[in-house]
């Protein structure tokens, strides 16, 4: 387990920034809500093997007591570095992103299943979309009951969505809650 170096931190922040925007500051500097300590610390990012974890300072301090080969993870995993050094957000980050993301997309109830199976979101499944979504923005996909289903990248801006074809892709799939079942072995 070690903190990220500059290059790695930049990559992680940039990926998170796509979803949160200026909220990223709040994400990183909010006081921790977990832990028995009287004074809550902040949250920090730690790297274990290839995975990046988002954990409170108290937890990190306690995790230093676990030996390196035995440490499986610390806190919430948010993503991992691939073999050649690129950073990808994984589905474990869903809770965090859902709480802090700026742009959301709501899906019609019948079409949720398609997204949970790993497909991108076509315009026909779109029920609602945050107004000022731009192309390339990170977007959290929710069901009509405000349950976060996954996240992706917006392929069209909010205005363009109105004019688009019914089958046009609106949100490019990145991760969804169905992965917990489909990719059980790969996730951990």
């Amino acid at each position: 387990m070690r903190p990220l170096d500059e290059k790695e931190t930049t990559q992680v922040f940039e990926k998170l920034f796509k979803f949160t925007g200026p909220n990223l500051k709040h994400l990183l500097e909010r006081p921790a809500v977990e832990g028995p300590d009287a004074e809550p610390g902040r949250y920090c990012l730690r790297l274990n093997r290839n995975r990046v974890y988002y954990a409170s300072e108290a937890l990190v301090r306690r995790a230093t007591a676990v030996s390196r080969p035995r440490l499986a993870g610390v806190g919430t995993p948010i993503g991992k570095f691939t073999h050649h050094g690129a950073f990808h957000l994984t589905v474990h980050a869903l809770d965090l992103l859902a709480a802090h993301a700026r742009r959301r997309v709501w899906l019609k109830p019948d079409t949720e299943r398609s997204f949970l199976f790993g497909n991108s979101v076509p315009k026909s499944s779109l029920a609602r979309i945050t107004e000022n979504t731009k192309v390339g923005d990170g977007v959290v996909v929710m069901s009509m009951a405000d349950v976060p289903l996954g996240f992706g990248i917006a392929a069209r801006s909010a205005q363009d969505c109105r004019k688009a074809d019914t089958n046009a892709v609106v949100v490019l799939h990145q991760a969804d809650a169905g992965e917990y079942l489909r990719k059980e072995e790969e996730l951990m």
């Binding site: 903190p3 990223l24 990190v60 000022n132």
Partner: protein
């Protein structure tokens, strides 16, 4: 040939045979040949005749009988061969020579023996049993400027040593300058066998603690021939394939590698008096500490803030939400 044997014997006597060089030369030879094949035949024929003339001259000499056979002493060569190598380049004047020229100092002849006042005898100017030797001074009077614990004899020895070292350094500098412009003679014993990287690196590996200047000292004689050999083009390949001159940084990195190439990474080796610690010891990448104090150290906070701020600054060009603004535009009444 067409002229017959008579013509050839006449021609044979007009060949110039130089027994010292074992050479036979026909001054009146003209090549009259049409095709390549004819030319070849002509050359072979003429060569045979000349070789025959040479052999005749050789066997005409009076032999001395030896147990290995008849031995003949060749006369001195008559033909002077042209120079094989270029004329030596003039050496650049040394530092002292330049200084002497400026000051107008001329060389004066020193006698081999001089009268030594100290021992009241005739002594050599230099070498064993010399004039003004430090050994012959029995007493050095203390001056008022001397400190109590200082040994004046040791001082004299140190000063002399420094002078000698300085002179040696100057001598090497002069040699280097001369070598740079190619004025130093090549050392034949080194040229054919020595190729550039191995000697230098092997010296480094076995000499790893020693002063690099000393290393260069021992290699100065190789250096001239190495430079010449290195500049010569290889048999196949281009100039790009030539081994480049190794720089100070290369030598230092090799020394560092060599010094840590032991079973325990060079940690417990005795260091020589002048040896400097290695420049890149072990760790080549630094990480921030995992947990400092309560969790996040100040360095980590700084790093994160820096990256965050630069990210926010780069993407701060969305102050105006055009959609919202346009929906708020009220039509002029």
């Amino acid at each position: 040939m067409a002229e017959g044997p008579a013509a050839t014997t006449i021609a044979a006597s007009s060949y110039e045979v130089d027994l010292g060089n074992l050479m036979a030369y026909d001054p009146s030879h003209h090549i009259a040949a049409a095709s390549r094949e004819e030319l070849r035949q002509e050359c072979l024929r003429k060569g045979t005749e000349l070789a025959q003339a040479l052999a005749d001259a050789l066997f005409a000499l009076p032999p001395n009988e030896d147990r290995d056979g008849p031995i003949v002493h060749l006369s001195l060569p008559t033909v002077r061969l042209p120079r094989e190598k270029h004329l030596p380049k003039p050496k650049p004047p040394t530092k002292w020579e330049l200084f002497a020229k400026v000051k107008g100092i001329t060389k004066r002849k020193k006698n081999k023996r001089e009268w030594d006042e100290q021992t009241q005898s005739w002594k050599r100017t230099y070498g064993y049993d010399r004039v003004n030797d430090d050994k012959d001074i029995p007493i050095i009077e203390a001056k008022s400027t001397d400190e109590p614990g200082v040994d004046p004899f040791a001082q004299r020895r140190d000063e002399k040593k420094k002078r000698v070292e300085k002179q040696e350094k100057n001598r090497l500098e002069n040699l280097k300058k001369a070598a740079k412009i190619g004025a130093l003679p090549r050392l034949l014993s080194f040229t054919s066998k020595c190729c550039f990287p191995p000697p230098l690196y092997y010296e480094c590996l076995f000499v790893s603690g020693r002063n690099l200047a000393e290393l260069q000292l021992s290699n100065i004689f190789c250096m001239q021939s190495i430079q010449l050999a290195a500049k010569a083009l290889p048999i196949i390949g281009t100039k790009a394939d030539l081994p480049k001159k190794s720089r100070k940084e290369d030598l230092e990195s090799v020394v560092g590698m060599a010094s840590s190439a032991t079973a325990s990474g060079g940690k417990f080796d005795e260091k020589l008096p002048d040896e400097k610690p290695p420049k890149h010891p072990g760790k080549h990448r630094k990480f921030l500490p995992v947990a400092e104090g309560k969790g996040m150290g100040s360095l980590e906070k700084q790093q994160n803030d820096k990256i965050l701020n630069s990210l926010l600054a780069r993407n701060s060009d969305e102050p105006l939400d055009v959609g919202k603004a346009s929906s708020r535009i009220q039509p002029l009444t």
